[in-house]
Symmetry: C2
């Protein structure tokens, strides 16, 4: 192909065993385009075509939807080249070129964006296609499909109008199934479709294939900003700025009769990871038919057919030659890409065409098995294996699985579309799923089938059930991606949306009834089953072992109770990074004494109440120290405003008034005295310890006495770290350090053994980060409390942010919720400053993070880069953090190596 | 004197025309010690003595009240040296050395700390003193005074016990006045005092003068941390870390009969600034008698006696020689120090002794006159004159003065102790004054006389009246220092504390009754007079002119209403740095439409309500633009959370429900929907403009239409600056910039003239400062909103901080309230970053500050150093800011010069 001299290249061609792009150009060509080019270069049978780059999309939106000037000429040239390769021409009635126009971004967004197939058909070319293929029915069926798809995607007409025309026609003719329609019927349908377009738009359907092409290209670029795509990007953290590429490719037809077929496949089982070809196909169908879940497809291999007890034959049995070619191609692709592939193919009159390959999505369990086995096969190294598992996906492995359902009658069985178990109330509508979930209700979304419009509801639900669709249906693919358990194609379920109920196996389930689903087996039960703890053995254990070897940072946990501590230890926590003492105060037995302490009108009364709390706090700490067996335990002294501990409801107030002997009025007066305009910025954290020193003294005493007891009982000295919350100045730390030191001396003397502890500060205010040098004069360790640091740096109350943060995300004004993934530019800079300045103040200051970001892989990578010593996260996220930290170490090492290489090469 | 080799010098001697220190060593020797040394070196008659440095104090508190080891030896040596100079010896019964022990810090803290006089007396030495002076009465009077003072200050006994013994004795003897007691009486009193001490302490009063001395030194150091001193330091921003020095000085006696006297004087009138000796003395008295206000003193000069219509003769008339010496000394000191001096002197048997000199405190008016006149006399330069006026003191000049009191009967007249007028409710107790003032009530504190225990009440009161005491009484000195109007020595007032009332001139005034005082004339009126605007002419205008010439930064004002704007312009504002649009919304006519807007359930309803507000906002802006005549006007778009505009009281809710046609329940529901946990960090600022774009669009339209109208009416184009509040990201600014640009285009088109404006951001979040480079891509100016920036940087809600900030200040954990004076280390660093990064992003970005710090001199100096283009403050603080900014420029230039000099000298 020729391009204008000196002009930027906006279009890349592929096909015929060669390509202008390659798999490394994903950012420019999108995943689909880059891989089509790569497959083409590998000599695989890829229908020729060309890719409009993602930069076209970016330019298009920058210029209020105008294309870069040179684009038209480049597309014309690429089209001419394509015609030459295909040996067909656009609009040639004798030998018409038909093309597909598809989106393809850097990241896969299945089903989110628009596609047009069979483009190039008109009254002339459809006749040519009929003549050339010798199959008039196929030609007109393709034509009516094209009209319908183009009208909906490009012209903005309602899809259903065409369905109605078809249904009316079928009724008139007494047909039941589409297969009953013959060539003339389809010709008639196409005619009616065209008339409908003319009527609705007041102008005819475009007949010039080039007009059709530009219309389709524009529509695909436009679909980058449709609501579904925007939502999907938000859910999957895909920046808007990436844009999509557009692929124009010669059509091949899987619907040219019984020697044609179309299918999707995974080179290994994406659900379990087993090394076996896994996939589905349909004879005489176009690709969309498989994914849409309208017809239930057949499986590829004989072995899986037999395992499933299916009777419809496998591809291996029906087209053994093609299957052989496919199997060899799969191996070639896996060897080439060194990863499990997700593949689309079409067989056109016994000739195999490859339409797509990409790294296949997989469940967390499968990702472990595949990574471990590929390392075993020598295909990848152990470090690469560690890098292959998405830490975020681990979440689904770490939550309980279904254990006992003996009290739960089986309602229905379907396909094990996405593993894991879920319990929840039945809901039939995506919006309703969202609002119930927001209100804290666990829900299971039950649908006949799902569509991209249901995405938000699927995300909100604990699990998904569909009556129709295969293992690669929309519901299955999306549920696996989200880590939601899913049972698909549970055909016995009859849903009545109007009623708000479904029936199956003689049972009727209404909206709001509780069901239990087992996504690993494909079962749906009535009522709530019981759950079991996840097993962390096998491939999981092997790979986590490799990860732990690779990892530089320690992983600790945020744990307040012995139960939390046990879970975290089981998940491999190496210490407690944040033990919040206030949660211990809410226990029913204790809250009375806590309230007595708060309501005290002087220090003497306050101390009397604190004396009651002391032994309870001490017991808490003894238990935690014993469990931790000498691993570090960071205990944060009381943090929340005292107001939080007071009763708010009238009846609670009365009960407390009675219990404390205070009048209701006095109590209310004290409560309103303690109420604050902005409690987040109020009398909390170390400010409490400074105004009421006796509170922190009691806590310090409980900690130190517990340490002495635990040491005596176990012989192991607990590694105690006392952490001061919400410090803003060195003076605060200096003041409290003295008081705590005094308590430690007293306890040491009484216990007859020296209590050892480290003294440190939570860095959660901008000022603390800015003044880290000064704070490090007093603190032996820092723990970055990035939740509060995000709140103060942004001036953003987490509790109040929902009213506008969603607008920000929707308008693309923020790529990510900064409470989920650390804002590296702003908050991150304060962390970096805190690290640099903290080390300047005390060279060996120990540095960690204990905000919820400590369990977020992107934030963990930031912590690695920043040089923190450890991350701390909630118990269930410990394995995620272990893996993410290992990956961060490995990626950093790789980058350094690359840099070194560059320097050496110079 | 000799000191140990290699040991640090803790003690500095002075006297006999020489000294080890000088006036430049204030930080080390305290103000009093440094000036005693300086006067000594000048050859003035100063009783010999020595100073324990402020470093002793600092060391003393660092070491849990232990002295540095070498101190004792150094004091002994200095004492020996002092004995030699005085020709007297400690404990020598024939010729005893007596000393005073006084505190003396870097900054004056009048009356806050403890003093012991006549130290060295015991049974032996008192007899010697009697013999040597030939005045037994004087000797035993001094002795009993010493016992009483030492017992109270050093031994911690109650002062009143001694007063009771004296009163009982007088009753027994039938005496009325102290002067009726003869030598034997005082001897008996001293005996009884000693017995009382023995009884209370269970051990005798110390007789060894050296024991007495160490006791007194310790007591003075201890008094650095008494509550009065701590409060005073907080009020006057004196850091705790400075510590106090202790001065030990040979006693001279103003109470040795009628040829002895003691007095205080100012070299110019501290109230008006007039160049005339001003002061008071008492014959046969000790210094404390003048200050304590127990006897009413006589004036120094004949001229002032005659002007006041006094009959008691002046010093000039009674002791013309001494007066002559004094006058020459005053001139010498003023010439030497180049400033008005505040002097203490004593005449002992016709011999003049200088006990203290320091720069004299003065009213704001006096400071202007003195500075301008000294510049006129050639004593100082104009720039020095500008540096001589304390900008903070200006406050009292800028508030209204008393105008008409025709409806207010005169209750009493006293001394014009501190100028200015005040109106308020009578209160007799300092604590009550504080609590009433905190509740927002204007109060006048009325006392027989004031003591250091009343400081907090004086600070809280709008004005002070005392029945006793002269122009240099405690009440007068403190009130002038604080800028509180004060009438002292209004002798006709008879106060009954128990009753809570006073009578004078036949009128009875009860607690809570309103009175008006005129501190400039010394009058007290019943009821509330009317006030007049301050005149800014004469010396004020001259000096402000010099200041404006010296000043680099512009001074703008924070003004929301035309009234504010007028005041600010009168005070010399060069622009509006912050016009808060929300205050315009609270007007009774408008709030209904505002509420309608808030309660709208969709954009259409909201726009309809906004359309009602638009013309009102436009009118506001037209008026302001017309007043500003082309000076810059920075308008901040809506900032507070919408919840603030909704009614809260039940009856208001009902009224609004009726007016808006919404049900009460719907209204309450919407209000609770809008309520936030932390409104400071919530849905406010530009977040409102982004979620409800129509609000900012309305405001932008009102601004631009107003600009067009004002330009048409006046021919002058307003200089409009549209400011976005609470921005945290560049995206926010980018988004709003586009919308506002669109509105400007529309208005320009409709008005037929191009609306010009600058677009900028308020930098009030840490993230905004950190990302200033990015924000400057969109913003043409930044205004640092240091109120909110302080809140977020410290994580400190201004509304909630009082519950602990006072503890911090009291414990010395914070030197200053960061909302009053900018925290330069923390918040200041973010401002510096914002400046550097903002300029990196846009070289000519205009930079200002509009937090309340913009009116605080220390913060203004910081702004100068940081290179801001302007400061903006409330209208009444504009002159303060003008002066402070000028001083900052001058000081910086001086520093640069000094640096250059240093470099040149190298």
């Amino acid at each position: 192909m020729t391009t204008q001299k000196d002009a930027k290249k906006w279009v890349y061609a592929f096909g015929d065993g060669a390509a202008e792009g390659d798999a490394g150009m994903k950012n420019l060509l999108g995943g689909k385009g880059a891989n089509l080019a790569e497959m083409s270069s590998l000599g695989l049978p890829v229908p020729p075509g060309f890719t409009l780059t993602t930069e076209v999309c970016t330019a298009y939106y920058k210029k209020q939807k105008a294309y870069p000037k040179p684009l038209q000429a480049q597309v014309e040239a690429a089209l001419a080249d394509l015609e030459a390769k295909a040996g067909k021409s656009f609009g040639d009635a004798n030998n018409p070129l038909l093309v597909s126009v598809r989106s393809g971004g850097r990241a896969s967004m299945p089903g989110m964006m628009d596609t047009v197939l069979n483009l190039g058909l008109n009254a002339d070319t459809v006749a040519g296609l009929a003549a050339r293929s010798g199959d008039k029915r196929f030609a007109y069926d393709s034509y009516r499909r094209f009209i319908q798809m183009y009208s909906s995607v490009v012209l903005g007409l309602d899809h259903d109008v065409f369905e109605e025309i078809l249904d009316d026609y079928k009724d008139d003719q007494g047909y039941e199934l589409d297969t009953e329609l013959n060539a003339d019927d389809w010709q008639e349908i196409a005619k009616r479709f065209l008339a409908q377009v003319d009527e609705e738009l007041g102008k005819p359907f475009p007949t010039d294939p080039k007009d059709q092409l530009w219309g389709a290209i524009g529509a695909v670029f436009d679909s980058w900003m449709n609501n579904r795509a925007i939502t999907y990007r938000q859910l999957h953290d895909i920046p808007q700025s990436w844009g999509t590429a557009v692929n124009v490719q010669a059509m091949v037809f899987g619907n040219m009769g019984d020697t044609s077929a179309t299918g999707v496949a995974f080179t290994r089982n994406p659900s379990t990871g087993e090394k076996a070809i896994y996939g589905e196909f349909l004879i005489n169908a176009q690709g969309e038919d498989v994914v849409a879940g309208i017809r239930t497809p057949q499986v590829l291999t004989k072995a899986s057919r037999e395992a499933m007890g299916e009777t419809s034959l496998s591809l291996e049995e029906i087209m053994p030659d093609i299957f052989g070619q496919l199997a060899r191609t799969f191996q070639k692709l896996e060897d080439h890409y060194r990863d499990m592939q997700d593949i689309e193919f079409t067989v056109e009159e016994s000739r195999l065409w490859m339409l797509q390959t990409r790294a296949g999505k997989r469940t967390a369990a499968a990702s472990f098995r595949i990574a471990v086995e590929m390392a075993g096969e020598g295909m990848i190294s152990r470090d690469e294996a560690v890098l292959r598992v998405d830490p975020a996906a681990l979440d689904q492995l770490l939550h309980p699985a279904l254990d006992d359902t003996s009290n739960c009658p089986l309602i229905a069985s379907g396909l094990p579309a996405s593993p894991g178990a879920a319990i929840g109330q039945v809901v039939f509508d995506a919006d309703e799923a969202v609002s119930l979930a927001n209100a804290g209700t666990d829900v299971i979304l039950v649908r006949i089938e799902t569509s991209p419009d249901d995405i938000h509801g699927m995300h909100a639900a604990n699990g998904i059930v569909t009556a129709r669709g295969g293992m690669t249906s929309h519901a299955a693919v999306v549920a696996r991606g989200m880590g939601r358990p899913c049972v698909s194609g549970a055909g016995s379920i009859k849903i009545n949306y109007k009623d708000g109920s479904f029936t199956a196996n003689g049972m009727s389930i209404r909206k709001g009834d509780v069901i239990t689903i087992d996504g690993a087996k494909g079962n749906v039960f009535k009522g709530a089953g019981t759950m079991t703890q996840p097993q962390m053995s096998g491939d999981f254990a092997v790979l986590m072992g490799w990860a732990d070897k690779a990892r530089r940072m320690q992983v600790r946990t945020n744990a307040d109770t012995p139960d939390d501590v046990k879970t975290a230890l089981r998940f491999g926590a190496q210490g407690i990074g944040l033990c919040r003492t206030e949660h211990m105060f809410f226990d029913e037995e204790r809250i009375a004494a806590v309230r007595e302490m708060i309501l005290a009108s002087n220090a003497t009364q306050r101390i009397a109440a604190l004396d009651k709390i002391l032994p309870m706090q001490r017991d808490d700490f003894v238990e935690i120290f014993m469990l931790m067996e000498g691993k570090p335990v960071t205990i944060r002294l009381l943090d929340p405003p005292l107001h939080e501990f007071l009763p708010h409801a009238r009846e609670d107030v009365e009960a407390v008034a009675k219990a404390t002997g205070l009048g209701v009025d006095a109590l209310m007066a004290r409560a309103s005295e303690l109420a604050e305009s902005n409690p987040m910025l109020g009398h909390r954290g170390c400010r409490l310890g400074i105004t009421y020193p006796e509170i922190y003294e009691m806590q310090a005493r409980a900690i130190f006495e517990a340490a002495a007891i635990a040491q005596k009982q176990s012989g192991v000295a607990p590694k105690v770290e006392v952490m001061i919350p919400l410090a803003a100045t060195g003076e605060e730390l200096a003041y409290l350090k003295e008081r705590i030191k005094d308590v430690a001396s007293q306890v040491s003397e009484a216990a007859g053994q020296k209590v050892k502890y480290a003294y440190g500060a939570m860095i959660e205010l901008p000022r603390a980060a800015l003044r880290a040098n000064e704070l490090a004069q007093y603190a032996e360790f820092f723990s970055f409390g990035t939740n509060d640091l995000t709140q103060t740096t942004f001036g953003l109350s987490r509790d109040d942010a929902s009213s506008f943060l969603n607008t920000y995300l929707a308008k693309g004004m923020m790529d990510q919720d900064p409470f989920v993934s650390l804002d590296q530019d702003g908050v991150g800079e304060l962390v970096r400053m805190g690290v640099t300045r903290g080390r300047a103040g005390r060279a060996n200051v120990k540095l960690g993070i204990c905000g919820e970001h400590g369990g977020d892989p992107a934030s963990i990578a930031f912590c690695e880069k920043t040089g923190l010593d450890y991350v701390s996260c909630s118990p269930y996220r410990v394995p995620i953090a272990r893996l993410a930290a290992a990956q961060a170490t490995l990626k950093r090492a790789a980058k350094k190596k690359q840099k070194k290489k560059k320097i050496t090469n110079k």
